[in-house]
Amino acid sequence: MTEQQALYKYSLRLGDNALILSARLSEWCSNAPFLEEDLAVTNMALDLIGRAQAMLKYAGEVDGNSKTEDDLAYRRGERDYYNNLIMELPNGDFAYTMVRQLFVSTFELFFYEELQKSTDATLAAIAAKTLKEVKYHHLHAKDWVIRLGDGTEESNRRVQQAVNQLWMYTGELFEMDGTDALLMKDGIAVNAEHLKMGWIQMVTQILALANIELPADGYMQSGSRMGIHTEHLGHILSEMQYLQRAYPDATW
């Protein structure tokens, strides 16, 4: 693997994370528990689409095959998608979505803080912009998880259930492979393993405030680094890519 190939894959991975989570969040549009929250979730989905656009555009540039961000989003099969599995899981109830938001945004808080310092100027610039958005997503998710965890018996039960179900998908966030190793040598990529302690500490603190118990250590799901996904991703892509695939000659 050359550094160019690694950088391509790295940008794709970051772009795919944003793209697939935005797809899930945007499903809340006109489905949120009340109007204000509908606007809030849509705002976050829009932030994520913007981030996906920037990352995929950069991936296309790095690859040099004149692929646009839309080509990469709409004409790539699921085995070539590298988003973490947690992004593609169906929304579940509002508690499930907020717990996922908490897990992901807490990770991204640490991740983009580091990526800002990347020696790759483009990644550093995207990271700086992303960090501001992620801080807000984190605040929003944290407040909701505490509110629901410390709300009614029912909401507490739902949050606990979401935490238990999502926990096994959090390990993958910190996984690293040859791509990371190669890029870390030149200070381009973030050492994700190093973020784990901070993440656990912060999540533990927030869950404690929410009266939620941390699940016991157990098996962590894995696969996205190799493009091996849950059954859910295929359905997201079938919908998303429908028009582009059905009318390959059309521009929209």
């Binding site: 009340f34 109007l35 204000e36 929250e37 606007l39 809030a40 705002n43 605040l139 407040d143 509110r147």
Partner: protein
């Protein structure tokens, strides 16, 4: 239909740029302060309209009564000595 509600009403005031007055933007619903602030941000600052937000529970706002307008506001109408144009300045005086 089950009894339900849509959280409390809050009034949103926004400053469009640093130093400007806070102006009433509208209302939102929220159950607590943090949520009120975030909902105000997500509802009224989607196009870069603000640099600062105040939220106030609507129930905390006291409004004057239109029936009292006469006694509240009319007595100020004839106090013209409160305005600079009331005063006669000697000709030739500058910067006053």
């Amino acid at each position: 239909m089950t009894a339900d509600n849509q959280l409390d009403v809050w009034e949103v005031f926004m400053q469009s740029k640093p130093g400007a007055n806070y102006i009433h933007a509208g209302s939102i619903h929220a159950s607590d302060k943090q949520m009120a602030l975030q909902n105000a941000r997500d509802t009224y600052c989607r196009r870069g309209e603000g640099t600062s937000i105040w939220v106030v529970p609507s129930s905390a706002i006291v409004a004057s009564n239109p029936e009292d307008n006469g006694m509240f506001f009319d007595p100020a109408n004839d106090k013209i000595y409160r305005h600079p144009t009331f005063y006669v300045m000697p000709e030739g005086a500058k910067a006053i």
